[in-house]
């Protein structure tokens, strides 16, 4: 679906809430891939978006090992020329990055056009990423 096919000038928004649990990362990945497909991204970009969403979820799971009851919030926003994705979850107050976690973030940076990791407050982390429609 191209922007004009949606028949609207507003941004399309898709929201997904998932348990912070390794079992559901594949669901996040598949949903991301399906949305990117509909938004008209090419195959390589769809794979990039899929992998970036997966790595972001994995990163957040590692920062939140003590609390499997909490939820990811994933929000996909189709802007005029790019897809914006927000992924957030609670973090353990004590968590710190290990080397391996850095690999995931490095991959997201290579796969997406823009990535931002923020801690809105001491108890949560948000990853924001952009991918341009080409």
């Amino acid at each position: 679906m191209t922007k004009s096919a949606s028949g609207s000038n507003n941004d399309d928004i898709i929201e997904l809430g998932l348990p912070v649990n390794p079992a559901y990362v594949s669901a996040a990945r598949l949903t991301a891939s399906s949305i990117a497909n509909r938004m008209g991204f090419n195959i390589e970009d769809i794979e990039d978006i899929k992998a970036a969403v997966s790595e972001a979820c994995t990163y957040l799971i590692k920062q939140n090992s003590q609390n499997r009851q909490s939820m990811f919030q994933i929000k996909f926003i189709l802007k005029n020329k790019f897809l914006e994705i927000f992924i957030s979850a609670k973090k353990d107050p004590s968590s710190t990055d290990s080397d391996e976690d850095g690999l995931g973030i490095l991959m997201i940076e290579a796969l997406m056009d823009d990535v931002d990791l923020t801690t809105p407050d001491d108890t949560s982390i948000q990853i924001i990423m952009h991918k341009k429609l080409r």
Binding site: V25, E44, A51, T58, I61, E100, L103, G104
Partner: protein, 109 residues
């Protein structure tokens, strides 16, 4: 959305011929490490992994492979991967792990 690993020990060449199918992520990457470690306990040889049907691998899956490679290097062995799909080849490239593993032949279907 899980993965399947098949392995066959080649007696004459003294190598493990392995195929991995499906998707590897944080949910199952520790299982990948366990399965490969079991193989190199049985025969301390090179691992040839056919990735023809490997649809996806994430950073934790790469971490498992690196962990196994460290053990393989201890006996001067190697891990080679062939027939990588474009998206799988890409994650090896962006992490520069294509310089650490032997990557042979692409899969451009």
């Amino acid at each position: 959305m899980d993965f399947k690993l098949n392995s066959l020990y080649d007696n004459t060449k003294n190598i493990w011929n392995i195929t991995i199918e499906g998707e590897i992520d944080i949910y199952n990457s520790s299982l990948l490490k366990e399965k490969l470690n079991a193989l190199i306990q049985e025969h301390k040889t090179d691992l040839h992994i056919n990735c023809d049907k490997l649809e996806y691998i994430d950073s934790t899956g790469l971490g498992s492979l690196v962990s196994v490679l460290k053990k393989v290097k201890q006996y001067n062995g190697n891990i080679s991967l062939c027939q990588l799909k474009p998206n799988v080849a890409k994650v090896f490239k962006i992490t520069e792990l294509n310089k650490v593993f032997v990557i042979e032949g692409a899969n451009n279907d």
